[in-house]
């Protein structure tokens, strides 16, 4: 049985960039623990010498010529931005 404590739950939430109020951390920790316990069945499997799967179909990824295929669509790219100004995406101040 895997136990995720409150500090770990808080850390995971921060790594995932999801604000989780302190009051919700115990429930989150419990849910994560349940899921990890479920996953731990995988420890029963003998995986000695087995390659981790990287591609489900045995084919090489296709390559294309390294060249510009489109561009000139600033307005389209910004059209869905919650805050776009002067041709840029606007965000809160990042550096002082």
């Amino acid at each position: 049985m895997s136990e995720i404590d409150l500090d770990t739950a808080r850390k995971v939430a921060h790594l995932a960039r999801i604000a989780v109020p302190d009051a919700h951390l115990p429930a989150l920790a419990q849910e994560l623990s349940q899921m990890l316990t479920f996953m731990e069945q995988l420890n029963e499997v003998d995986v000695e010498g087995v390659e981790p799967m990287t591609s489900v179909t045995p084919m090489r990824l296709k390559r294309r010529k390294d060249g510009v295929t489109d561009g000139d669509m600033q307005a389209k790219i910004l059209s869905n931005a919650p805050d776009a100004r002067e041709g840029f995406f606007a965000v809160p101040k990042v550096v002082e």
Binding site: I4, T8, V12, A13, H14, L15, A16, R17, I18, A19, V20, L28, E31, L32, Q34, M35, L36, F38, M39, E40, Q41, L42, N43, E44, V45, V47, V50, E51, P52, M53, T54, S55, V56, T57, M59, L61, K62, R64, M73, K76, I77, S79, N80, A81, P82, D83, F89, V91, P92, K93, V94
Partner: protein, 493 residues
């Protein structure tokens, strides 16, 4: 002609080509059906004007003699597909207001073949769920009812399944990461096929778990699945995992002849405490295929038991990475910020407000299994188990098995709200028969095969060899004919 919305694709195509019906008439019949079906909450974005415009264009093409099979056929599109100028939200608050400037390859291929988009269909948020209850739009409702009890249409493609079963459209697109086409198809008495990984381009489909996601059609019959799948498939340079293989004429492969085919029955799918009705249906399905000339062979897929835990490591890991793009900067929702909030608070508040509980849970579990110190123990181990799961299938196929018959789901549709208090793992068990297929990248199809004691549809799943969707559809077509499933839910909505 009445009830045009109840036609199959094949019937409508033939009537269109004979000039006996117009696409405008078909489209109007579907739009009327959609208007009267608000209670099902299947269509969540309506595009009637666009639909009629495309229907008129389709009629012109048909008159001019240039009509591919999907030309003039009204379809619904799952909200996961980006559609140009039309809201595409993946049923999430975080994509509120998002109107893509581009069209997904699959929906573009359907559009270019003349298919008429009626609107966007409900689903679980980011395709994470098996009951359509994680949707920001509220759940879709199954047109099949158990007395007064309202049921889930399944998920994640719940809106697609409900819309097809209720004849709101002739067919719909779905996507399947762990069973999201096949489980809702089974719950609604419809047909759903997930093709081989790489058959359909993933470009423009909101990504959940990129190594597992595949699009596919949800239809009223196997023949319709063959017709629509052909229009959706094909190589796309914009998806590096898209297969550069010719797309066969799937419909022409529905010969009805499966003599000599070897059908495997995997013993590990016969689970303890399994619903006896499901076991009986499975046995009956095997008998029907035997009567049609197939050979039934007991097989073993020894790592089946580990598919669900492996999936629930790999899929959330990929999701946590894919969903990192929802940061409140380029599209969708951005949280209102307080004084002094910086960019980290913007990300954290935006994602807390924008993602529902199930999506948050999966993003966080994915973050955990990918984090330093746990990567090998969880993520790498799951990928090794995935190799073994795929090897099980390869060995079965190498031994001469042509297709594998299993139940599609562990039960018929359950009641809405019934799983809300269960722990998340209970809901995941819905995928127990379907998830292996995604992990192995194989094609799988759910075919309605009968009704249970409550009068609700049950499905059987056939799993095929990679790239052999045609042979899989042929076997599914024989099974469909043998079961003679024609039941429709009585209209109550």
């Amino acid at each position: 002609m009445s009830d045009l919305n109840k036609l199959t694709i094949a019937e409508a195509r033939d009537l269109l080509r004979q000039g006996d019906v117009t696409s405008v008439a078909l489209t109007e019949a579907c739009l009327t059906a959609i208007e009267g079906a608000g209670k099902l909450n299947a269509f969540v974005h309506h595009t009637p004007d666009l639909a009629l415009e495309r229907a008129r264009a389709a009629d012109a093409r048909i008159t001019a003699g240039d009509a591919p099979s999907m030309c003039g056929i009204p379809v619904g599109i799952k909200d996961l597909f980006c559609t140009e100028g039309v809201a595409s939200q993946a049923a999430s608050r975080i994509l509120e207001g998002f109107k893509p400037e581009y069209e997904s390859t699959v929906s573009a291929q359907l559009r270019d073949a003349g298919a008429v988009m009626l609107g966007k269909l409900n689903m679980d948020e980011f395709a994470m769920g098996s009951s359509n209850e994680s949707s920001v739009y509220g759940n879709a409702v199954n047109p099949w009812k158990d007395g007064a009890r309202e049921l889930t249409p399944g998920g994640s493609s719940g809106g697609s399944a409900a819309a097809v079963a209720a004849d709101l459209c002739l067919a719909a697109t779905g996507t399947d990461t762990g069973g999201s086409i096949r489980q809702p198809a089974a719950f609604t008495g419809t047909v759903g096929i997930k093709p081989t990984y790489g058959r359909c381009s993933r470009w423009g489909i909101v990504a959940f778990a990129s190594s597992l996601d595949q699009a596919g059609p949800m239809t009223k019959t196997v023949r319709d699945a063959a017709i629509m799948l052909e229009a959706m498939c094909g190589h796309d340079a914009k998806d590096s995992t898209s297969a550069d293989l010719p797309v066969p004429d799937f419909e022409a492969m529905l010969t009805g002849d499966i003599r000599g085919q070897k059908i495997g029955i995997p013993r590990e799918y016969r689970m303890e405490g399994m619903n006896p009705e499901i076991t009986a249906l499975w046995d009956k399905g095997a008998e029907m295929l035997r009567d049609a000339g197939a050979e039934i062979v007991d097989i073993s897929l020894p790592h089946t038991k580990y598919a669900l835990p492996a999936y629930y490591v790999i899929a959330p890991a990929e999701a946590s990475s894919n969903l990192a793009r929802y940061d409140g900067v380029r599209y969708g929702h951005r949280a209102k910020l307080g004084p002094g909030d910086g960019i980290t608070q913007m990300y954290e508040k935006t994602r807390a407000e924008g993602f529902g509980p199930e999506v948050q849970r999966r993003v966080m579990i994915g973050t955990y299994v990918l984090s330093a110190g746990f990567y090998d123990a969880y993520y790498n181990r799951a990928r090794k188990v995935r190799t073994l799961i795929k090897r099980d299938f390869e060995q079965a196929f190498a031994a001469g098995i042509d297709a594998i018959l299993t139940p599609a789901t562990p039960s018929s549709a359950f009641g809405l709200g019934e799983m809300l208090d269960a722990d998340p793992v209970q809901m995941y068990l819905n995928d127990v028969f379907t998830v292996t297929v995604n992990l192995a990248g194989l094609p799988g199809i759910s075919v309605p095969a009968g009704l249970d004691a409550k009068g609700l549809p049950l499905g059987l799943q056939l799993i095929g060899r990679p790239w052999e969707e045609g042979a899989l559809l042929r076997t599914a077509h024989v099974l469909e004919s043998a079961t003679g499933f024609v039941s429709k839910p009585p209209k109550w909505w």
